[in-house]
Symmetry: D2
Subunit: 340 residues, 4 copies
């Protein structure tokens, strides 16, 4: 299967290299980026990509290309999704589809009735650790889920310039964790109470955002999920969860570069968690594309469809309102405002 | 120092044996219990306690006894405290002082102006693990605290008959965790949002209580604490916490009976957490009495004073209201209703 | 049961306090020490011991005392054992019975035909961790044992003056590990190859001893055990083992003061192993006396009999010869020289 | 750099795919295998290898190919090495170079005076865990090494037919561990005492080999290393080590598929070690080829030269003699017999 990649930034390159190296039965036929320059072109050639463009429309009009990976800036995801649907391409779209519910709805409407596959880039669902937790829950190893606790803390805050256009912590960072709650529980979020604070960097507060949060989510089943977020963790990228059920608990902990442990007069010291998200989730980036290619080939549903792109945005909007108004907010309240 | 123990139930006996075995410079001179019977009397004699009574007033009037441990049923704690204060005895009172704020206030008022020591039985502050976490936080090892997560799950629910008179999960079980938040953070709770569910046993719901809860606490410093509670944990008594700060994180995990780990075709299996609270916290029960005896001897403040008995009750009442009204509740709102 | 303790040094006091605090149905009636002084006498009185002597013979002639704990210096163990047997006392004797096989034989001969109980103080058999490993092996959880690896490293070397009279590392330190091999395997050692080095302190070498060793032991079953010893471990007292069998492996690791783990920019740091042997094995010291008292009361075999005192001495002598002559030495070769 | 691969069996394919996917600046120009068939040819074409041969001499005579990876059967390694040297190719040779010291010597002699690079396939030196241990030792984090313990146990024994031609456990399996001892210690082995047993499968004994062994190695520095081997570990591929020094200890533990841990009524169960060596060491296979390509490109010494291929064979022969004659054997004794 020939793929086209729209966007040759960091994540576009990650996917290009993943496909080239690991994804059996798929190859990158073309890559496009409006800022395509000599350096990027050289990288693309070395990666063995035959067609290199500035204009992504050339990818959409290429009859040899069956599917596209949308890795452009977030504000273009939904518009390019619509064009790609019109062009009859299967789509893997980086998260989020959009911060604007209306735009996501348009993409969902455009998909309706087509046979096109659409997958959203919630890569963590394909991480070896979280997948093992999901499988344990699904297999009934912890019985009925009653509590789910997600720890998700970034090693360091992004620049304030980024924060300002990020959509806020809930749509930028926590959105992964909202998806994780849905993934692990196999359930839907009904109500959100979020508590936020500015404790890492006052400039983040001045930019109208928060940097530390605890979010409580009531699920349809009655189970309760809780997420703790922070934009800074001095010890690395902290990505863990614990799911509690009637028969037991499953927990996943961080990955490290090695299992080495040094015992000396200062204590017994293991390695810190992997620091960088690309390193932490590299195998997950490959696995999600394999899953997408597989869905296209076998004509099955993708593992993370457009509706999975919408749900965490609604939850994120509820969380943001919860912080603003300091009250629990039902997801249905947000959905109703969009006629959902 | 000669101590009198009021109440010869489970916890009274624990303290009696602790003092006898471990607490240097203290001995149990008398024990009283309205249900004193032959079996209990034999136990008390074997433990080397010279004076055995039905009526605790005999302890209060005994000039040889310098301090009393109030281990009777919760509804008698405050009244006996008042009598003991009147009798000029130093007091170690099992938690909670009372579920009724007015009654706690009366005890505090009675103590005011005396030189009597009063310690509340929040034993977990004296646990080796939690104490190590507190020391790490206090020593600045994690920098400024921003998030605190407490996991506190009982191995099995108590009988529904007990639940009915327990004061509800927040005053019965979470009260320890509210105290833990205050202990680890060295800070005060300003606002509470609690989410509760009945997922362990419908009879608990019929009794008007919940059995699963996630409670978010906003602290004065701006830091956020979160507690997850459940009345059942199939794998044992789950007592852990994680404190996150600007420089790092400190975590304490459960204690086990041994460090043995078996690797076989089924996996790599370590022991379960200790199951029973008396076993888990035995050393802490001794340490709290040592600390109390020390405070009396050296005429210093106790480590957990009457005010520390009041604060978690106010938080618990806020939590209960939060669940009932599904809104965040300020602790000051509760306090104001009691003129505090 | 009334016990007499012979020797009021460090270990004698440990046993006295253990019995007083924990051992149901037993009390310390008398203690004797040739160096009894005011300080020791005060300690003994505070511990509630009624009879305090310089001369241990007063204990042996006391008809009220049923059993003695021999906690005197090693060179007196066998002679006092013989006297105590003659006096009809049950005996708990600190390890080793003697470094001299002939003297141990005499004790065994004296015991033959009597109904007296004799237990050797191999306290580690009663440690919660090693006991859990033994139980796993005995219960068949690892199948047929094929390899056993014991790590036993002291936090710091004793003074060279002690080394000189210690009998050498194999009879002083490794003797515990030889016993551990017999305990865990339930098997007998047939042949020993020991490799030794002086790497901690050249003065230990000048004193004719070694401070670092790896000892390979062939067991009767064909299984192989290996012990690694060192007189110094900068991170604490390192006491672990791994037993490998046809169905799996069981491992025990060190105990720590708490489960606290700090994650920061330097790594993820847990506590060091407990440093001091008395702290590490305190519960084991109590458990071994409970077991001894129980054997006397119920008239059953002790868990560590006189023959268990002999076996590791023979192994230790074989190990010492192995280092001297740099060859594997059969335990039978040593035994034969003693007509065993 | 264009590489030729000689041998298209399991390990040849692993290297081909590693180079194709990961090794920057290198490509596989040709592969040869005497048993080249349609399936293998298809695999090679899919892997993008342009030249596919039965006869490896075509690779040696190809002027475009700068270096060869010898992945053929062990008995051909040295002969093909000699031919490749004559053809002026740099060589990466799978371990062992040969079981026959004379043949290794011939390769070393042939290399002498050339500028050709020669690397032996001791992949474990490039494993993330063992490398971390080596770096800790090298950086002085444990001080002066005094003891090194290597655990190396296979998940299951190979077929007895393989055992018969394997050269025996020490040259087939332990050879990696001998290399690991040299790698971690940065030191040379002077004397070997090996204890062996047949405890996994009597047929292995009938084939003249052993399946369980403990090998003690005296190093030049005086430090002692010990290796424990078994052909079966029911819980997976057990590959660990502990290095002890004057300032502390460094330990590496097994890798697992995920960090998931399930706590339930049966215990607290983590995943088993990875089972299959290719999975366990996949990243190491890539890293060793990267290192080789780098040495060729930069004209530096390889990290594992021909002498590193010889040393563990001498140690292995000493170990085999030690088992046969049940005595410690000096490596120099073996070396002398080969005029080394």
């Amino acid at each position: 299967m020939k793929l086209g990649i729209i966007g040759a930034g960091r994540i576009g390159r990650v996917h290009a290299e993943s496909v080239t190296r690991f994804v059996k039965g798929a190859s990158v036929e073309a890559i496009a980026d409006p800022f395509m320059n000599a350096e990027t072109e050289k990288w693309a050639r070395d990666a063995g990509i035959p067609k290199i463009y500035k204009d992504y429309k050339k990818i959409l009009s290429d009859p040899e290309i069956e599917a596209v990976l949308i890795c452009s800036s977030t504000d273009t995801h939904s518009a390019i999704s619509l064009e790609a649907i019109a062009a009859g391409k299967h789509i893997f779209c980086e998260k989020p589809v959009d911060h604007d519910v209306e735009k996501i709805k348009k993409v969902m409407d455009a998909l309706a009735g087509t046979k096109l596959k659409y997958q959203v880039g919630f890569n963590r669902r394909f991480d070896h650790n979280f997948r093992a937790a999901r499988e344990a829950v699904k297999a009934g190893k912890i019985g009925e889920l009653n509590t789910l606790s997600v720890t998700s803390r970034d090693p360091a805050a992004p620049p304030v310039s980024y924060i300002k256009v990020s959509g806020g912590i809930f749509l930028d960072m926590t959105i992964h964790d909202f998806d994780m709650v849905r993934f692990i529980s196999g359930d839907e979020v009904e109500e959100v109470y979020a508590s936020g604070a500015v404790l890492v960097d006052p400039e983040i507060g001045e930019a109208g955002d928060i940097d530390t949060a605890v979010i409580t989510l009531k699920l349809k089943s009655g189970a309760i999920a809780v997420i703790n977020n922070c934009r800074r963790a001095a010890y690395g990228y902290d990505q863990r969860l614990e799911a509690f059920g009637s028969l037991g608990q499953v927990e996943v902990r961080n990955d490290t570069d090695s299992t080495a442990v040094i015992s000396n007069a200062d204590g017994v010291t293991a390695e810190k968690p992997k620091y960088f998200f690309l390193e932490r989730y590299m195998a997950a980036y490959t696995a999600e594309i394999e899953s997408f290619v597989n869905a296209v080939e076998k004509d099955t549903d993708t593992e993370v469809g457009a509706a999975d792109g919408l749900a965490p945005v609604l939850i994120g909007l509820a969380a943001a309102r919860s912080v603003r108004e300091n009250r629990p907010v039902k997801v249905a309240e947000i959905a109703a405002e969009y006629g959902l």
